[in-house]
Amino acid sequence: AMLVASCSSPKEEAAQPRSEFDIGWSIYAGWMPWPYAQQAGIVDKWAKKYDLKINFVQVNDYVESVNQYTAGKLDGVTVANMDALTIPAAGGKDTSAIIVGDYSNGNDGILLKGTDQLSAIKGRDVYLVELSVSHYLLARGLESVNMPLSDVNTINTSDADIAGTFSSPDISAVVAWNPQLSTMAEQPDANLVFSSADIPGEILDLLVVDTATLEANPNLGKALAGIWYETMGIIMEDSEQGQEARAAMAKLAGTTPELFEQQLSTTYLYGKPADAVAATTSPDLITTMTRVRDFSFAQGLFGQGARSADAVGMSFPGGKTLGDEQNITLRFDDTYMQMAADGAL
């Protein structure tokens, strides 16, 4: 009973102004600036400015971090666009994506053993985290060689263990993201046959927050945008300070600076707020999200209630929407990125 009772407490009473917030993060190249900012004091600086307290909470398991956010234990979380749609948004949690941090530009990829042709994947057992962006990437990859998903047999594999499993000789096809991807790519007979660099801008890494909380506390959005873009300024520098910052992030991610630089090189960071605003307001985003939601719906990720791909509504800057307008639960919101671009923070 205690178990059930404690998860019913965080009701939608978040609508009052508050001063303390928890933001979840998990280890991924595009999200490492957040813990770095916390360590470097950037978070405190901006929080103080708006009279807030912001805690960045590490969750080792990515899915768990998103689940925690959906359950209301976290006010915001770092998440990929597809998971933002299928987990909190499909669960009826009104979510705003306020920072579009980067897109994967080779950080996700398909590895095959013994061939460098994607088409050779036909009929193989493919190991991947099912229903994740890897699955989406696989679908897009197969599309590029005119194969339906049913041409391969997918086997769900946990992301932490996928690196270990690939060294087993009976596994010849995997889809994964970094750092596992680069760990596996080191194997002598592994070939990267398709990667997110082939579908630029489709796998986006976001920071999302609860819409009601944001409406009641617009300062939270301002502080987060301030933190992010100040951090971007440091880590994208080629200076010694930038190098040190990247080394610190590498350490936080449990890896070496060299490997981390390699991961960053396949991550397209929107370093300038204006770039991020441009990406968010571009009609390409609507195209991407249409693809993503069609894929998600086809995989049954909207749950039983959903009768069509339109079941979950999304909104974009400029009042554009996609899907059910009565049930908009995922909002791409460029307000705070715009403020950062305008230097209005």
């Binding site: 689940n67 994740s132 997918t154 086997i155 769900n156 596994i171 749950g303």
Partner: protein, 271 residues
């Protein structure tokens, strides 16, 4: 009448046992109702109607891709793995436990090794396991076996080593050799304990099965739970967990029952 002496009849026991379970269910329903009143799409505490809707597809509709009834094929794969794993563990526990329990030199030699293996959390060994066994069914069964067999071996060995010394002496005065002591004195008396150990291992066995299925699988109850965890489909997770509990309780009852049937002498105190 003192509480120690109150016997409870079968029917009463059934009713009394059901009470707390039913109460828990009611608490759940109230809480779930509350949450749904606020957010009708709430995923965290689904209502029974939602669970039925989510499950009915899995139970009654063949999957578009494979043509399987997913729920049943999941159950079948998991039970197959479970039973193979349990079977191997039980057999090896019996053999090793017997030898360790009866023969002190063997116990001295291999006891520490078994203890060592028993205390190493198999979850931490997963990468090594995959390399050794690949990713197929072998690895899953192996995880179950590595997870529970050492525990069972230790339990059986300890039980046998604790048999009254007089029994072993007695058997020897009746002409029994080490081997005969093992098969005629230790083995039969280890059997009820083996069933008991098996019952206690059921929980961990499921844990390891689910962990294995969470790591790499394309069917199975654990696979489904971890798959749908990706989008927080509690309407599938909760029925699956309940189903696992039901299966486990059924196996548990079956084991208790067969122990009573097969080894009545070991249950004299129960009447």
């Amino acid at each position: 009448m003192r509480w120690v002496n109150r016997k409870v009849g079968r029917t009463n026991a059934f009713i009394m046992g059901a009470i707390p379970i039913v109460l828990l269910m009611i608490v759940y329903l109230v809480l779930a109702g509350d949450r749904h009143a606020i957010n009708p799409n709430d995923k965290i505490l689904p209502l029974p109607s939602g669970m039925v809707a989510a499950m009915s597809d899995l139970v009654t509709q063949p999957d578009r891709l494979s043509g399987d009834y997913l729920f049943w094929s999941d159950t079948l794969s998991s039970l197959t793995r479970l039973f193979i794993g349990l079977g191997i563990s039980t057999l090896s526990a019996l053999l090793v436990g017997l030898v360790l329990g009866v023969l002190p030199p063997v116990r001295a030699t291999f006891g520490p090794l078994v203890t060592g293996i028993a205390v190493i959390p198999p979850i931490a060994l997963l990468p090594i396991l995959f390399i050794a066994f690949g990713l197929g069914e072998t690895a899953k069964v192996a995880l179950i076996v590595i997870g529970i067999a050492p525990f069972m071996m230790r339990d059986i060995a300890a039980h046998i080593a604790a048999l009254p010394r007089e029994q072993i002496i007695k058997a020897q005065t009746l002409g029994a050799s080490s081997w005969q002591v093992m098969i005629r004195v230790a083995l039969p008396q280890a059997m009820p304990r083996l069933i008991q150990a098996l019952r206690l291992s059921l929980g961990p066995a499921w844990v390891f099965l689910i962990s294995a299925e969470a790591i790499a699988a394309d069917s199975g109850l654990g696979y489904r739970i971890f798959l749908v965890r990706r989008y927080l489909s509690m309407d599938i997770i909760i029925p699956y967990v309940a189903w696992i509990a039901l299966l486990a309780v059924a196996i548990d009852l079956l084991l208790t029952f067969s122990s009573r049937r097969m080894f009545p002498w070991a249950h004299g105190g129960d009447r």
